[in-house]
């Protein structure tokens, strides 16, 4: 038993923390928050140079092939920013979908580009009947010669605006008795004709709508050799991706707790630091408890995955706990900060917005609680 980080993880953590602190100051993040991609080419290239875009990609495709736990250590630091942009969509979820589902040629082509930062992936699954169960995927892909024709809409897609390639789930067959059957992933160039990507307005960031209007996709762009097994690929990729998303949220929660503790020391009311008031302490202690619950459920799931254990129930547990923790920690932060906390320039709302934007990604707390009960065989 050893619940500490390895030396290599400590080095990665320090490097990532330094990078985030130096390159992603508060003003930079606030300026990027409501941009379509959430990142600049320069920042993205730096991440590629540091080897972070290919962190999960095997060396044969130009990556550094680190473990899921290593990747989580990086994403926890990114979450502290919170650094926006397609890091998770492209280098984690998209990468795992290609790794698990793609042909050798697709892996070679796409993953080499992802590691270099020249290819950016976004996974487009959810539709106007939003949800993370296969029966919410309706968009048809109809075969026409050596092409498929896509028509319909994908909704609440993360980081589509930043993507060079969409990994788009569509129906090549109606579901049989298994609602997951008949779903196929297509590798779609984001700038091809018949595709329109729009950033959704409101209190969310880098969340997009994609409209497909007779978009023609070559049959060779079906991910993998056989159509129809897309949902299995997504399920398998999600198992690895979810705890890394959780680690990002853990980092965000940690930043909010740190901000709140610092503020409790410096803000004076009634002639004393507000942190001397037990009501204020309660908000921070509640946040710390949520943070630590999220942290340890997340890292236990990662350990199970990396050591080849059955991790399903742990992954669902981690996401159920972490999604909820992220909301609650931000709420605690706002109670402590009061008016200052809602000034955009202060930076707390960057985290609050992320806690909402990521709440449903790959399934919300309610979804994962149900899946947890199923995984436990109840």
């Amino acid at each position: 038993m050893d619940l500490g980080l390895t030396e290599a993880q400590e080095i990665l953590k320090t490097a990532a923390a330094d990078f985030v602190r130096q390159e992603y100051d508060k003003d930079t993040l606030i300026a990027l928050e409501n941009t379509p991609t959430g990142i600049t080419l320069e920042l993205f290239r730096q991440a590629a140079d540091l080897g972070w875009l290919g962190i999960l990609i095997p060396e044969s495709y130009g990556g550094t092939d680190r473990s899921l736990t290593d990747t989580a250590v990086l994403f926890e630091e990114l979450g502290r920013g919170p650094v926006l942009g397609p890091h998770f969509s492209s280098s984690v979820l998209g990468t795992l979908v290609v790794l698990l589902g793609g042909t050798e040629a697709q892996k070679q082509e796409l993953l080499t580009g992802v590691a270099q930062g020249t290819t950016v992936l976004s996974v487009a699954v959810t539709e106007p009947q939003y949800g993370w169960l296969p029966d919410t995927v309706h968009m048809p892909a109809s075969r026409q010669g050596d092409h498929y024709i896509l028509n319909g809409a994908k909704l609440f897609v993360h980081d589509a605006q930043a993507a060079t390639h969409l990994l788009c789930a569509a129906r090549t067959a109606l579901p049989g008795s298994d609602p997951g059957s008949g779903i196929t992933f297509f590798v779609v160039e984001a700038n091809s004709p018949g595709i329109e990507i729009r950033t959704l307005p409101g209190w969310m960031s880098q969340m997009d709508e994609i409209r497909f209007d007779n978009a023609r996709v070559p049959a060779a762009n079906v991910l993998g050799d056989t159509p129809g097994n897309g949902w299995d690929i997504l399920e398998a990729a999600s198992m690895g991706a979810i705890p890394i998303l959780c680690a990002y949220q853990v980092g965000s929660c940690q930043a909010v707790v740190d901000m709140s503790v610092a503020y409790s020391r410096t803000r004076h009311q009634f002639s004393q630091p507000i942190g001397r008031f037990q009501r204020v302490q309660d908000h921070i202690i509640g946040a710390v408890n949520h943070l630590d619950a999220a942290r340890w459920t997340t890292y236990e799931a990662l350990w199970k995955l990396d050591s080849g254990r059955d991790a399903r129930s742990s992954v669902h547990l981690a996401k159920a706990v972490t999604s909820e923790a992220s909301l609650k920690v931000c709420a605690g932060g706002h109670e402590v900060h009061a008016g200052v906390g809602v000034m955009r320039e202060y930076g707390l709302t960057l985290h609050t917005q992320r806690s909402r934007t990521l709440y449903h990604f790959l399934g919300d707390a309610r979804y994962h609680r149900r899946r947890l009960a199923d995984a436990l065989g109840w």
């Binding site: 619940l3 503790v261 630590d292």
Partner: protein, 410 residues
């Protein structure tokens, strides 16, 4: 990270040794009651005998040096011991010995060599069962405000006062307490820490009638007492940590009482509740297939998993000698608060069945009925939930830059 002990061949050999030894030394007819208040004297004697046998092997308090009656065992070996005992529903020590667990640690940190030689071996070998005497009628959360007085008289201290919520069924051999040694000295510098043999004259022990007794971690006590000291004479040798240094000594056992040692045990009540729900039908439907009960089960499972992970994390911090801060009291706070929430959720899930230990109608032989009471009682032993939050705040440094340190465990 590694959340499990990876056992070496040497450790697996140890496990086989432990397993064989336990099967030979745990009486086949050793049973424990669902409600700890029903522990019989015969059962108690069997548990004490097991404790003495474990103690003779250095397995009762296995992390302490052999020179003091411990086993010099590293953490991974101790986990093997705990795991193997857990198969019998037992842990270390196998009977209520909260005073030995907390007091032993305190003497180990703060005692003189002569005191360690005198007090530790009988505790660690299971020859003594020890009670801790902390709360008084007017000193609960404000423990440093105790009023029991100890006046030096020659080679003795003369003790007068009253302690409450003490001990367990069937007495003990040794007790320890915090007393005022200098009423003129400032707070926290006015106390002494005394070991008191149970059989001295001037000790009056009266049982209390409580909803149930327990909540301190480890084996349940089954009964609590109020104790009166009337001109009790205690040898001055028994003052541990020196004159007016009792609060320093107390920081060690308070750290443990506040959860600083961590826990690696599963919550057997939760395990049994969940299994009950998956195997019991109500009105023709398996409880776990009722959507409301299923939600309740998830609530309980998530809370118990977080408790398990907090306990494991703190266990690792303390046994791997990592820096500790707020983690102990956090685990204690979370365990107490969620125990009550889980009990309420069980009540919701099962209805009035959860409230009866009737042989016909009570689920799990009355285990859940007892848990309903124990979860309420368990909120306060070892520090109220509010006190745990106060300690957490100081250590996190909320509103202050000088962060309080966790109590010494070594």
């Amino acid at each position: 990270m590694d959340f499990e002990v990876t056992y070496t061949p040497e450790q697996e050999t140890f496990r086989a040794e432990v397993r064989g030894w336990l099967s030979e030394n745990i009486p086949a007819d050793l049973t424990q009651p669902v409600d700890p208040a029903d522990l019989t004297l015969e059962q108690y004697h069997k548990l004490r005998e097991l404790g003495r046998r474990l103690g003779a092997k250095g397995w009762l308090y296995p992390t302490y040096p052999k020179a003091y009656g411990g086993g010099d065992l590293a953490v991974d070996f101790v986990i093997i011991l705990e795991e193997e005992l857990d198969r019998y529903g037992l842990h270390l020590p196998p009977y209520y010995d909260s005073g030995g667990r907390l007091g032993g640690a305190s003497i180990f940190v703060w005692g003189t060599e002569a005191q360690k030689q005198h007090f530790l071996p009988p505790i660690f070998r299971g020859e003594w069962r020890t009670w801790q005497l902390l709360s008084e009628p007017n000193a609960g959360s404000d423990l440093a405000g105790v009023q029991t007085r100890a006046v030096r008289d020659g080679d003795s201290y003369v003790v007068n006062g009253q302690k409450t919520y003490i001990g367990s069924l069937y007495g003990c051999e040794m007790m320890w307490t915090i007393v005022v040694t200098d009423p003129e000295a400032p707070r926290h510098h006015n106390l002494g820490w005394l070991m008191i043999p149970y059989d001295l004259p001037g000790i009056d022990v009266r049982p209390m009638e409580l909803l149930t007794a327990g909540g301190e971690g480890g084996a349940s006590p089954g009964l609590k007492h109020t104790i009166f000291f009337d001109n009790l004479r205690v040898p001055a040798f028994n003052l541990v940590g020196g004159e007016n240094n009792g609060w320093q000594v107390a920081t060690t056992h308070l750290e443990l009482e506040h959860g600083g040692g961590g826990i690696v045990r599963r919550n057997r009540i939760v395990d049994q509740f969940l299994e009950y729900c998956t195997t019991t039908k109500h009105n023709g439907v398996t409880l776990s297939h009722d959507p409301n009960v299923r939600e309740d089960m998830v609530d309980i499972y998530i809370r118990s998993e977080i408790n398990r992970l907090f306990g494991l994390r703190t266990y690792w911090l303390s046994h791997a000698h990592q820096p500790r801060s707020y983690e102990g009291p956090q685990g204690s706070y979370y365990r107490k608060v969620t125990a009550l929430e889980m009990a309420e959720t069980m009540l919701r899930a099962l209805g009035p069945y959860a409230m009866t230990n009737d042989p016909q109608w009570g689920p799990l032989q009355g285990l859940l009925e007892h848990y309903q009471r124990a979860a309420v009682v368990g909120l306060h032993p070892g520090g109220t939930t509010d006190i745990q939050k106060v300690v957490m705040s100081r250590r996190i440094g909320i509103g202050r830059t000088a962060q309080e340190q966790a109590g010494r465990l070594r």
